[in-house]
Amino acid sequence: MKITQREAAKQFMNYDVILLGAVIGLASLGLIMVLSASGIMAEKVYGDKYALFWKQVLFMVAGFAVLIFAARANMGFFYRNTYIWLLMAAGLLILTIFSPFSTTAGGASRWLRLGPFSFQPLEAAKIALVFYLSYFFANKQELVRTFSVGFLPPILMTGALCFLLLLQPDFGGAVFLSALLFLMCLVGGTRIIFLASAGMLALVSAALLVVNSPYRFRRVFSFLDPFKDAQNSGYQLVQSLYGLGSGGWLGQGLGEGKQKLFFLPEAHNDFIMSVIGEELGFVGISLVITLIGVVLWRTVMISIRQESMHDRITAFGMGSIIIIGGLLNMGVVMGAIPPKGVPMPFISYGGSHLVAGFFCAGVLLNLSRKVKA
């Protein structure tokens, strides 16, 4: 069957093109900034200024393929295998803790290495958790307001994943999943009293975890006055703030940032927003925040249009993964929350979070189709 151009265009417009535009906008800006932030370092380390840039292009291509797959797939495929995704994610997390594929950096093993590629199972865990929670809330609507059947299972499931993350240890990842659980419980209809008391409980246990580990304690509280501990735990934040501060309204110009040259190591990773602030100024940061805002807006619009509860909560969860990532990352870069390794969705260098982000956007696009395939 031959598809005419007009039909193809019509089919394309069936998707939420505003969301797609925002994602492409973020990814393009990310590509430019990765080149700017990594060029000099890459030239020194790999003898090629574009070494990380081309890898990022490769990740983007892979990510886009995943986006197209997720956007065109039958949602039933994802929904039917919810427990398989969960088991796979948990299995991958376990592999990071006990396996030769795991790579350890800075005392934490959060990555699996397969040949030339590294992969962070946390990203898979986020997606699997969203599928599980949306399945749970959609199918147990009449039970959600009870405690033992309606509230405990999602808590236990998330808790199990968080437990594995804490073994790596990845405190930030556990916070991320908890935030995801919290938001999805809110839209899933959990009683506020359960949520509030669970929230209190989580805060207390988090506080205990922090107080019991001097490393974590220092990291968590250094953000309050990073300058006091500028040579150790506050170092990156201090450099990040200098970068943001010297950017002013319009920034120093693309490629003109100085912090990435020595002071802010690995600027292309989690602290890339600081480079954007330094080089593109308030305007550049605002552009990113606006695009993330567009993702939030489209997520809400797509969500509320869904007729099936399962679709609705899934859409919300996928959007949440992107938005929580954006908020946590900016919070860290600007010193508003304790530091943790969270990449900026679509912008930071790295394959795992990029592909995962594109997958989330793909699912949102899939659900955004006005006429279902």
């Binding site: 040579q231 201090v238 120093q252």
Partner: protein, 430 residues
């Protein structure tokens, strides 16, 4: 004005500066301002001992040892110290940069950088003068005069920075990119420092590779094919030949016509017209007997720096030469630490020719330099000896570091005698 230097920025870092020349000391000062723990290493004990100790950094003299580099995350190399020489001593992950690179991290003003084998100082000074005469506030420095680090830590701010940059500095400047970069010419030189011609050219060109479409590259037309073949820059490019549009008696010779043309193209990029530049050039001359290029014969240049009566001015004269130097010195020594010149002698001097008084003082201080030290009773004889031993591409420099009244009435007479002797030798060998 944005503030770029913060006292916390390098807190907890250990930085090592190699070489206690003016740029090394300036870099050490800048690093101290940034909050780093700074160690300044200097091979010559006497030079190390002459560095003031109250500036917040530690000075270590003598051979470099691995423990001198312990914990260093940043290493600043002074010009003339090959990176390969210290590489085995460096801790893993230490970043090695030139003083120019370090200082450029804290600069937001537009930079005009001048490099090349010959004529750098003249062209740099000329561009500075043109801009100044057209109402811009200018900082002129870099390899000549004030190091960029001193500008950065200083109070005064300029609209434009005009810098003379050497290939030594460019080689360890992975991000330095000026607004306008001028390559005056390129010939075999400094091959003792750079392994090959190719490496030397790469060093010069690295700066051009960092520039982008808003910037301007100025280079000689004779190098156009070679440069374009290497696609050496993304910046706009203009190529110059010796032109006739500017006349200046103080800047004689074809090479100076090239220098003026290059200066014009650089200034035009900053919005000056041909007339503005003409006004700026008018009346320019190098001061008589102060690094005055008096002749060029068989590709040997002769420089009269008779006004140099101190050790500092001798060091400045040596640093201003981008060619290997045959050094003429001698006269009534006024005191000071001649040992401070030794690193510069090792770096640039190919022969030492003493004349007149103070022979023993010079010989005593410089006996360890590894060069034969000649002595003649008169300046003329010393000039002839130096000129006949000089090879093409070298420079015969009179920079006596002494008062002149053993043989002459004053430094002017000494300079004139030098110039006479040079003329005589040139005519005799023409």
């Amino acid at each position: 004005m944005r503030e770029f230097i913060h006292g916390d920025q390098l807190r907890g870092h250990t930085a090592v500066v190699l070489g206690a020349g003016s740029s090394g000391i300036a870099a050490a000062r800048l690093l101290v301002r940034l909050g780093a723990t700074v160690r300044l290493l200097e091979r010559s004990e006497s030079v190390a001992a002459s560095v003031p100790t109250d500036q917040g950094f530690e000075v270590r003299g003598g051979q470099h040892r691995p423990e001198d580099f312990q914990g260093a995350t940043l290493v600043v190399l002074s010009p003339g110290i090959p990176r390969a020489k210290v590489a085995p001593l460096l801790p893993e992950g230490a970043q090695v940069v030139s003083e120019l690179e370090l200082a450029s991290w804290f600069v937001s003003e537009p930079i005009i950088a001048v490099t090349g084998t010959n004529g750098k100082t003249t062209t740099t000074t000329l561009i500075g003068r043109i801009l100044e005469r057209n109402g811009r506030s200018v900082f002129v420095g870099g390899n000549i005069g004030t190091p960029l680090s001193d500008y950065v830590t200083g109070e005064e701010r300029a609209d434009v920075l005009v810098l003379e940059v050497s290939s030594f500095q460019l080689q360890n400047s992975p991000s330095f990119h000026p607004h306008v970069a001028v390559l005056l010419n390129f010939s075999a030189n400094h091959l003792d420092y750079h392994e090959t011609m190719e490496e030397y050219l790469d060093a010069k060109l690295s700066m051009f590779g960092h520039m982008d479409a808003r910037d301007l590259a100025v280079a000689p037309l004779s190098m156009k094919e070679e440069l374009e073949g290497r696609s050496f820059t993304r910046a706009n490019r203009v190529y110059f030949v010796a032109g006739r549009r500017f006349e200046c008696p103080g800047l004689p010779g074809e090479h100076n016509r090239e220098n003026m043309e290059a200066a014009f193209l650089a200034c035009r990029h900053l919005g000056l017209s041909e007339d503005d530049v003409r006004r700026g050039i008018e009346g320019f001359s190098s001061l008589p007997h102060r690094l005055e290029a008096v002749a060029e014969h068989r590709d040997i240049t002769f420089v009269d720096d008779s006004k140099s009566t101190t050790i500092d001015s001798m060091i400045a004269a040596l640093k201003s030469q981008d060619r290997p130097v045959r050094l003429l010195a001698g006269g009534v020594f006024k005191g000071g630490d001649l040992g401070a010149v030794l690193p510069h002698i090792r770096e640039r001097v190919r022969g030492i020719y003493l004349f007149g008084k103070s022979r023993e003082i010079f010989e005593g201080a410089w006996s360890g330099c590894g060069l034969e030290i000649h002595w003649d009773p008169t300046l003329e004889e010393a000039v002839f000896r130096a000129a006949s031993e000089a090879r093409p591409g070298e420079c015969v420099l009179l920079s006596p570091a002494t008062a002149s009244f053993d043989l002459f009435a004053n430094y002017k007479e000494r300079g004139k005698a030098f110039q006479r002797a040079v003329r005589e030798w040139v005519e005799g060998t023409a």
